[in-house]
Symmetry: C3
Subunit: 470 residues, 3 copies
């Protein structure tokens, strides 16, 4: 079996002088607490603090990066233990699924999944040989045994990982009972929510009509008018803020915004309540609601996040069999300059607003996002997202945005994950890549070393807390 | 005269530690046989094994990279010996054309043409000074003399170059007599064809109506109905497979696909036979035929290749005077996510299908191609193509696709050339750039060195044979 | 206070061997005269040779890079001393504005503004501590005192900077009196103009109708017909050539061109004179006029420059308060392949024409611009522009265009600035980045070192003079 080691200089440039600078910068930030202002962990974990069930259900089944790579090589998700929705059989022996994964682990060479998983294997579970067919059972047994111990329960891991705060993401329809239970439990960990209103804002969301009805119930507002609908948002936002939320999150097909006159949006809302709207009307409603959300953010101080540009559920057969979030979402070309203009015309220069932009289309970094964020006081740039949460993705992000937007219009790292055990690994990759980026600029005499240390700290900790108002 | 040397470390990173790793990786693959699964050499060369005529007709006249660069600096192709179609005079003294080329050879600094040509000059012809005005005649005489010897005939070069297999590309209307002649000659070289049906699939192809008529004749099928037309494809595909073909190739304006109901495609085909279709109908027919080709590939096992996105013959004056393929094709922005969806909906998860995607728009590497190929079992990514078959092009390709698609959803190198003498140079550039890419990841501790060796071999040899089913 | 030093190796690669080569290349070009063929300095400076007023009005108020970064962090331009157009108050104490700037100078870390400004502070004013809150007054006093001396008047700086020629940009309505005054003054400096006809070509330009009327007056032509309008252009172009102009400049929303039949353009022009045209008609007129300008360039030898793709005045509130050119122009996605075709069909292969292309969309470098310029004799590529006039922007430009267009289809550096004191800093960054780019290719054995020296000289000096016919 091949040894598995995490080299202390991993991801640092090979040039010895540059590497020494990178090491020094990294030493100054490696121990900073993890602030995770945007992610998808399950708050129930921290309520019940129940042990995770087994290696397969913890590390394979919920990880869409893992599923998509194996799927791309012809391995059906059912063989990996992913349950089906259509009644076709799936592998129910977690060890068999794990062995299949282990046999194909070489597929992840060169991917961030390999970096994250190796970190989890070595650092969290103390494994010292590389995963493969020969080590599959050793891995399964080691991880399975560890998960049965108290040290591997969610709260213990939260503490061991040095997490200062973690945000989850909930629908306005969520009663937020789990967050209340965590707060009331007396546990010191900080798990806050974020307001994700897509289910009641996107007329094309599954179950939208029913969602609206429930939105009225949960808020206690009559949503028969647009004013009532806006009031319902205000009520739910206030409820979310009480559960620690400092941000909202918006996952739209595009960055299109609108700012309609009252009569027009009221008429559009009425049509929406009536049922059928066209795709263009749905886009118009979503776009207008981003501007309404900006206005509410100015009122209540919640930071907005916009995540546009995913073609969701590109593979209908996969969706039918396994459901959403199984790795079949694909990026689309982005456009922000015209799309954001209505919102920016109204509120872009208002320093009370913070709107954090994400993209799946790297081409807009230098062309659109950095120029926009380098002018408008309300805009900040989120870190490289999803497919670009990777060493090369991070390098391209910094190279393409820094010269126009600087460092201080960015907001540090988001792990954006439900893969709880990999959170420290993801933050560590970001810290290393920022150290490497800064080291190169020090070695090329664009920055003083003391400045690089200050910037590294800002990117790792200070800017996160400032941007997300934590 | 300046010396010409091919440095053994060319294209390797300058950092000494990284360079040493690159050298070691490269040593493991430099001697592997050349498998050339996609290209445009002329099978007649290997039938007749006749000597190449002279340096100008071998190295200048057919090389669109050379022609376009000289054209861009105001040198008319006629002065380079390219025959005209409109009766205007052209240079008929190959030595005069060669001298003109030699005098402008500095224009190729920084281009892959320089790398390829210098390799040909130094390795194939043993020249040891750089090409320029002063060495023009030395070059002409040396190359011309060599070409008259048996060691420089096509079959001898094929063997000297260590080629294991080379694929050419033919129209369905081609009788494939040359390939039969090669097979029957008893020569050990392996020259196979590939099925390129554009002339009978693209309603906007020159002579389309006549092509269709001949398609019926050569297949012996009545193509008056769409069913007959599909049968004609099946018959010709079977004939191509007998001539060694394992792949089809599709050069479309875009990656648009369609999957029409029977009645619709039959009506469209009938309209097509009738003569006039609109550009939109032509696109619809091409798009639907990609899906039909995918279905036939599932039946007969031939690997599909899709090469979309060239604006052909952008310069009408050049086309009128010199004809096609003279360097005036220009890339267009690409779109694959929506374009491929109809085909992928139908067959994207079928592991019996292999569809290899190429692009001239690098922006889709990270945004569209890697996410698609990193999910769909039928998709693989072809190497950087045409303008991007270059050191920087290769670096960008690996940097942008690997983190999402890994190494194993790519298919190794294609030389894609009719410049026979440069084939080893092109494969050598790819091997060196892959070695450099892998060396950097080893030096930065993302890959073990043993893994890098295994990946390098896969990219050079194993994945080519697997992907093309050779 | 932190020391401020300009390291002699700044911007050179850290690898020692590569750095030594970069140093050697740079030594060969660092002292070459500055040829600035495209920029926006004010010719009045060189007429009156009056001292610059104070640090704030010289270095903050006119610098849109500085304004946009401070604006992006919520600092109103009025607080920086920028006068308002709407009567709202602005900071009138230049020292107070300077202190505000100094306090936020860390925002520029990682941006080219920091490189340029530090060069100005250290090289022009001899400052040896970094700008910040603590050094704000030292800076203000030092710069203010220097500006009052003769050595810091415009002509003295021109000479100290080693400028051989500088071009400004004027409207056809400009009488060019300043340029005549400079020529007649007997001063040895060479300040030429460039013909920028947007105000009389763009129907959507502010005051277009009035501009046209004045165009008739200043040219002495009856512009009631399209022929008369073209004659007016010829007359003004001749006048500009007498004032030293060798180039025209065109700032269009896109690279769209047209080449309409006489009857159509005459009808469109008549409609234009009548007043209301649609946006599509305005685009058509602009597009056709580019082709007319190309025809006049073939007649009179003036080099064309096309700068497309800025969304001007994206922030209407900023425009209303402060006016144009305050940092709120944002790049748009570009398209050149279809856009330029009508012009190229007509004149693209004419070696008498030089059309220099610029872009704000880096994605077109490798996909469109390099392939076009690597074929058409009339095309050359301008240097990375505006947001991309930066170390990373330059690196991406060379990496993406060189392999397809070579070095000799590019035209050296443009500073494109009104920030006179930073001109040497900007040229120095370009010289260093070209040295670094070439050094890497020498270190990786793609170029001989002697070739790299020759290319560096061409990029710095020879190609500029050739391309701009100076």
């Amino acid at each position: 079996m091949t040894p598995l080691t995490l080299h202390p200089d991993r991801l640092f440039p090979a040039d010895p002088a540059t590497r020494a600078i990178a090491r020094s910068i990294y030493e100054g930030i490696r121990g900073l607490p993890i602030v995770s202002p945007h992610g998808h962990t399950d708050p129930v974990w921290f309520v019940t603090n129940a042990p995770f069930t087994n290696p397969t259900e913890l590390l394979i089944v919920p990880d869409h990066y893992v599923l998509r790579m194996l799927s791309s090589q012809g391995i059906p998700l059912s063989a990996l233990g992913v349950p089906t929705r259509d009644g076709t059989p799936h592998e129910t022996d977690p060890r068999a699924a794990w062995r299949l994964f282990a046999r194909h682990y070489h597929l992840f060479r060169g991917t961030p999944s390999r970096l994250w998983l190796d970190w989890v294997f070595a650092e969290v579970f103390g494994l010292s040989v590389r995963l493969g067919e020969a080590s599959a059972d050793l891995y399964y047994d080691t991880i399975d045994a560890a998960l049965k111990t108290d040290a591997f329960r969610p709260r213990a891991l939260y503490e061991r990982f040095g997490i200062e705060l973690i945000a989850t993401t909930e629908s306005p329809l969520d009663p937020l009972d789990h967050h209340r239970a965590i707060r009331e439990s007396g546990w010191s960990g900080k798990v806050v929510t974020a307001y994700r209103p897509d289910p009641v804002i996107d007329p094309e969301a599954p179950g939208f009509a029913d969602n609206l009805r429930r939105f009225g119930e949960v808020s206690g507002e009559d949503i028969a008018t647009f004013d009532g609908y806006l009031r319902a948002h205000r009520i739910r936002r206030a409820h979310f803020r009480q559960a620690g939320a400092t941000s909202t999150d918006h996952g739209h097909p595009s960055a299109f915004t609108a700012n309609l006159p009252a009569a027009e949006i009221e008429a559009l809302y009425a049509k929406l309540l009536g049922g059928a709207v066209t795709p263009a009307e749905a886009e118009l409603f979503r776009g207008h609601m981003l501007t309404e959300m900006a206005r509410m953010s100015i009122e209540d101080g919640m930071v907005m996040q916009l995540h546009p540009g995913a073609y969701r559920n590109h593979d209908p057969a996969l969706l039918a069999r396994y459901g959403r979030d199984k790795g079949a979402d694909i990026p689309l070309a982005g456009e922000f300059v015209r799309g954001l203009k209505p919102l920016l015309d109204a509120h872009g220069r208002d320093p009370r607003l913070t709107l954090i932009l994400f993209t799946l289309d790297e081409d807009v970094y230098a062309r659109e996002l950095a120029p926009l964020a380098g002018h408008y006081a309300a805009l900040r740039l989120g870190p490289p997202w999803w497919f670009h949460d990777s060493p090369e993705g991070m390098r391209r992000f910094r190279e393409r945005v820094t010269e126009t937007a600087g460092f201080y219009n960015t907001v540090g790292f988001n792990d954006d994950t439900r893969a709880f055990l990999s959170i420290p690994a993801r933050h560590d990759v970001a810290r290393r890549m920022d150290s490497a980026f800064l080291a190169r600029r020090v070695a090329e005499h664009q920055l003083d070393e003391a400045e690089a240390h200050a910037i590294a700290r800002a990117l790792t900790y200070d800017l996160v807390k400032q941007a997300y108002r934590l």
